[in-house]
Symmetry: C2
């Protein structure tokens, strides 16, 4: 963790300490309040205890002030929030066009956001890294599937029936709300009142913890109990299920109902056979896909974290339901992860750090493949620039699991809004393939060859058709059909009965019961060798919300630099820095010519640019003519790790060097023009470090106007 | 052009020659038919000309055979079709899972296709190349915008009213058809009849040429004229306008109408101000965006070429409407392009090759920016692997232009279906920004500083309000309002009148006419300096249909290798090859261990793989245990340019080399294991050529089973 990111995450220990102090102080306050109440209970008592009442009054005032200041401190130390100034941070995202409400010029439509140039470049980089980390390194089979989906697919997957949220409506004006979010907001607003009673505080803390598991009944009961009203102050309807899928008719007749997919996974499931075939019918293997998904959220809030259209990157790893081992498990078994298991949550315990191997031994994680993807997800998120202390894996409670999941661990990232689910790693078992097999009436199985052929006993039924036709005439056909349709279990029973009682009864199509004896019917046992069998594969699914990951990485990489003077400071521009890893940063380099109209400077600038392009290093040129300090700030704002300045020495043929500035330390070196692109390429590709680079090139002294402060 | 691609495109000359021969032969045939008709006109004549009739009969039979075979040859030489066996080609796309109808297990929904692993990888590569070629090389501002769009946006852009096709309905069963496609299919089926009369052939050829420009009236008239019926043989309705946008309500109340965007461009237009600001208020600049677009096609045919969901990559280059010069124009002015101008089409001429500079001089292309993007588009398409002879730029006829375009050139690629529009390069002038300014009531202008301040005269109106209130009492206010609202032209006229006649009349709100004289009203002229002005920028838009480009590149790179023997030949697998450029190929390399269960082979294979991964070279491993020839074929099928074979020499420590095979030539070299990844990286990144590599490493002799034939 670098210096500037230290204070953003608070420790659980400090928070717990503050909680205890706060509660003790509240208790002392309550005792004093009780005492003063008793003392003031009658005119006589008041008169008798005058002095004590005065003292107590002073004490109470002091205690109340103490409770208030402790509450503030306690809230600030919340380990479940990232401590950044969100107003300033949002200001940065807006000022540098990271994110814009879509169609803002027409007034915003809630839940839709566009990415401006820097965020768009970050997104491309995150997706490239994802493909490198998952698809290419693991030889996954990536497919590209459409968003428009005909209804039968989501009927089979269960989404038409069960992909719902609970909605309540303002009975007067028709405004819609998500019942659970409304209840949660109510809890939050009550809990933030420092004078809330301990009883109500405990009650609402418990309610808040269990909201995700409430059904429509519980939600309705709580809304009535706490008399929660709409924003306009009106009564609310009972909660009811509302489907989150956008629907649109496909084709000109309007007869085919279509949905915009709410997840990209189904594209892989319906193509299972093609992928299995492409993989040479070998198991296990993983499919992967990247694309847009759509959810018609009831009332999207929290800015970028709950939106109606978003990019998902999903992996479906198909394996044998009885063997979820992973060939590369050993490579991750010593990775340390912070886990918040179902049991820990129920017991009110905090997340605990353990190795993947320990988590498997504890039976926190149930199989190697699930464990493998939890570890690989952590490695990916850290490469994206997530703070290690701001990452945990939380297991779903059995009540909050999606309808298709048998187990699920979310990678949650800490933000100023709290812990946010960014990756869901679910064991979908055989649910989806079984559902599609049933609904589409196709075979979606894999074939397994037994390690050695298995022997099993089967019972053949032998009928003397000639004798039967003499005895039963026209009914013979119906009898034969009935006997042949008997399963192995029935045949065993019939065989025993025939042997013990000499005859058995069969019921033919028209309901008539016919007796058959050993003359016409016998059963013989036979040994059969089978080499293998078909089975429905199980699925482990890591599903990445790309937009959420980007948002969290931006919060995690954000800090404010202490300024140390210079001409620009008065202008009130905050010295924000995004310490994004070079892999993710929107541009790897910026080029700033001190003079932007001078021919010589333009020549050197073009020379530098052309070398950067040859090394496929993305860059921005800033020829705005503003002060160099101001321009450095603009680069820091969008997280450009390396800035090249073309100055008077650069245009002096006897020197021909440029300044190279590192974003986080503000350190500057002088590097020859013809080497600069190579140096940056090596830094960006992790072939060298900044410290090693510093040893190779002379340091550049900063002029006053270039100084924008180092560290905090 | 490489050897194998030569025969796929026919020359216009050869086709014209064949056309002439065919027409001449038809004429001779007609003359003979006329003559025999006359000779057979009466019994006497028949009797008298018996011998001549016999001779003529023989001659006619021969001529008819000649017409038939010439027609076949003529059709094969069609320069407007790519000559590949489409059935075989489609078989390859299916066999190797390039493309699958979406949700095929549920029966296909027309117009929706998924990309399997190889096509998905090709798509990622094409988009990366696009970003490199346009966004990064040109410092464009890429944005990422949502698909869901509220109605007001597409009302402003004109899509709600005008983004329509003409539809006809089967009046009996309600089946829908696109009127123009129905007429086109009718023309095609008639024209393919060798016995069609010359008159009808000429007529339908003309109709086909103008279909794109027909409105509902002309389409209806032709459908009636040729008695075109539905597939079921029923009568069709009159053509009517059908909007191609998918609509879906946004939010839970159902009150906000949304559309899935039919183009991605609007995301850039509505964000114009943000981009202009991000660019430091400097012009010109270009926005870019990549994403899904949706069109609810009436009855999608032609497989991958007309689909309901597709990926677009669009550039919007904003420039001054009076100055569409491009700073980098000089770098492309000598590029030779094949242009089919509006004039050439009207005159029935073929496309002509010319340099960009010539096309500008001829006024075929009207401005530098339009010309620049035509050239850059060509360079991009050629890098993607398009055949130079299979690319042309066709200008839209004024009747077929989209409602927003003032000029448009399509990059068309030759396919087995004919010439297909893959990139539209439109001059959208100021249409979109003006529309959004009007509808959203916001300022979407750029500011230009004049090279020197401009002086202009304005006329001020001076009123003596004190005198007026004495003269006009309560009406004074209305008079002042009226005078102040006069424009500069009116003020000039009033001034002259007041000077010549001593008084002027003004009409106030209630209709009363009031006379004013010089005592209360005077006009004075004033010189004003203006430094610049706001203007609505013009837009040049290159819009790339990524799916179409991929399909065409696959057709262009496809050929069938002549086999020269070997064990696999009997199995009837066609020896297809996709000669994709390495940049675009789904994987750059394949690794084939001859033994897939032997520890030593596995060790070497893993060593090779690990080196490839370090060099970020994408690869597939084929351990299927099939013959090496068979496995080479599989690699050729999906266009893998380089194949590494791990054989007995590879596991021999004293040798430790692998075989490197080049896809198009089938040539094989022996390369040391520790050098193989570097060699491939250099080949793929164009740092060395295959010929240079051949000089550095010894040739590997092929064994019989590895031989799959070289060239044709």
């Amino acid at each position: 963790m670098s210096e500037h990111q230290k204070d953003k995450v608070s420790s659980v220990e400090r928070f717990n300490q503050l909680s205890t102090t706060l509660q003790d102080t509240k208790k002392t306050l309550n005792t004093a309040l009780e005492e003063i109440k008793v003392l003031k209970s009658s005119v006589e008592s008041k008169e008798q205890n005058k002095d004590r009442i005065t003292d107590l009054g002073k004490e109470i005032t002091a205690l109340q002030a103490q409770v208030n200041s402790l509450t503030k401190e306690w809230r600030k130390a919340d380990p479940d929030r990232l401590h950044i100034d969100r107003k300033e941070f949002d200001g940065l995202l807006n000022r540098r066009s990271f994110v814009i409400p879509s169609f803002e010029i027409y007034g915003q439509t809630a839940g839709l956001y566009d990415y401006g140039p820097p965020a768009c470049a970050v997104k491309t980089n995150v997706l490239n890294l994802w493909r490198q980390h998952f698809v290419l390194s693991e030889n996954m089979l990536e497919v590209d599937c459409v968003c428009l989906t005909p209804e039968p697919v989501f009927k089979a997957s269960g989404h038409v029936e069960r992909f719902t949220d609970f909605m309540v409506k303002d009975e007067a004006n028709g405004e819609c709300y998500r019942a659970d979010k409304l209840l949660e907001e109510f809890c939050d607003s009550q809990l933030s009142d420092p004078n809330i009673s301990q009883t109500l505080s405990d009650e609402l803390t418990l309610v808040k913890k269990h909201i995700d598991s409430y059904g429509e009944k519980e939600l309705g009961q709580h809304i009535v109990k706490y008399n929660i009203l709409s924003e306009a102050g009106n009564k609310l309807s009972d909660p009811y299920r509302y489907n989150l899928m956008f629907s649109t008719p496909i084709g000109p007749t309007g007869k085919i109902t279509g949905y915009l997919r709410p997840e990209t996974a189904q594209g892989i499931f319906v193509n299972f056979k093609m992928l299995y075939d492409y993989n040479g019918n070998r198991m296990p293997f993983a499919g992967a896909t990247v694309g847009q998904a759509f959810r018609n959220e009831i009332s999207p809030r929290s800015g970028l974290l709950r939106v109606r259209e978003f990019t998902l990157a999903e992996v479906e790893h198909f394996c044998h339901p009885d063997d979820k081992s992973h060939p590369k498990y050993d490579s991750v078994k010593n990775v340390v992860v912070k886990l918040l298991s179902r049991e820990a949550q129920t017991a009110g315990q905090a997340a605990s750090e353990q190795t993947i191997q320990q988590a498997m031994a504890n039976k926190n994680i149930l199989n190697e493949t699930h464990a493998y993807f939890i570890a690989r997800t952590q490695l990916f998120l850290l490469e994206c620039g997530v703070l290690p202390t701001g990452l945990r894996f939380r297991q779903h409670l059995s009540t909050e699991m999606a309808h298709y999941a048998s187990d699920c661990w979310d990678a949650e990232l800490l933000t100023s809004y709290g812990w946010i689910e960014c990756v869901g790693i679910a064991d979908r078992s055989c649910f989806d393939l079984e559902q599609h097999t049933k609904h589409a009436k196709v075979d979606l199985t894999a074939y397994e060859l037994f390690s050695e052929p298995k022997l099993s006993t089967t019972i053949d039924a032998n009928l003397d058709k000639k004798k039967m036709s003499t005895l039963y005439g026209k009914k013979t056909g119906a009898i034969i059909k009935q006997v042949n349709s008997l399963g192995q279990v029935d045949r065993q029973a019939y065989k025993s009965k025939l042997e013990s009682q000499g005859q058995v009864n069969v019921t033919i199509d028209d309901g008539e019961v016919i007796s058959l004896n050993k003359d016409v019917l016998t059963f013989t046992e036979k040994q059969v060798r089978t080499n293998g069998r078909n089975y429905v594969p199980s699925v482990i699914e890591p599903s990445f919300g790309i937009g959420r990951i980007i948002y969290c990485v931006l919060e995690h990489s954000y800090w404010v630099r202490k300024t140390i003077g210079g001409a620009d400071e008065e202008k009130g521009v905050p010295r924000a820095v995004l310490s994004l890893p070079p892999t993710i940063a929107p541009y790897k380099a910026a080029v700033l010519p001190i003079q932007h109209n001078d021919k010589e400077y333009i020549k050197v600038t073009n020379q530098v640019i052309s070398n950067l392009t040859k090394n496929t290093i993305s860059y921005r040129v800033d020829t705005s003519g503003q002060s160099i300090g101001r321009r450095y700030c603009r680069c820091d704002d969008i997280g450009i790790p390396y800035v090249i300045t073309v100055d008077s020495q650069s245009v002096d043929a006897s020197d021909a060097s440029v300044t190279l500035r590192e974003r986080d330390s503000c350190e500057q070196l002088r590097v020859p023009i013809h080497e600069i692109a190579d140096v940056i390429a090596q830094l960006v590709n992790h072939q060298t470090s900044w410290n090693d680079t510093k040893e190779k090139y002379p340091t550049q002294k900063q002029t006053a106007s270039e100084q924008v402060g180092k560290g905090k």
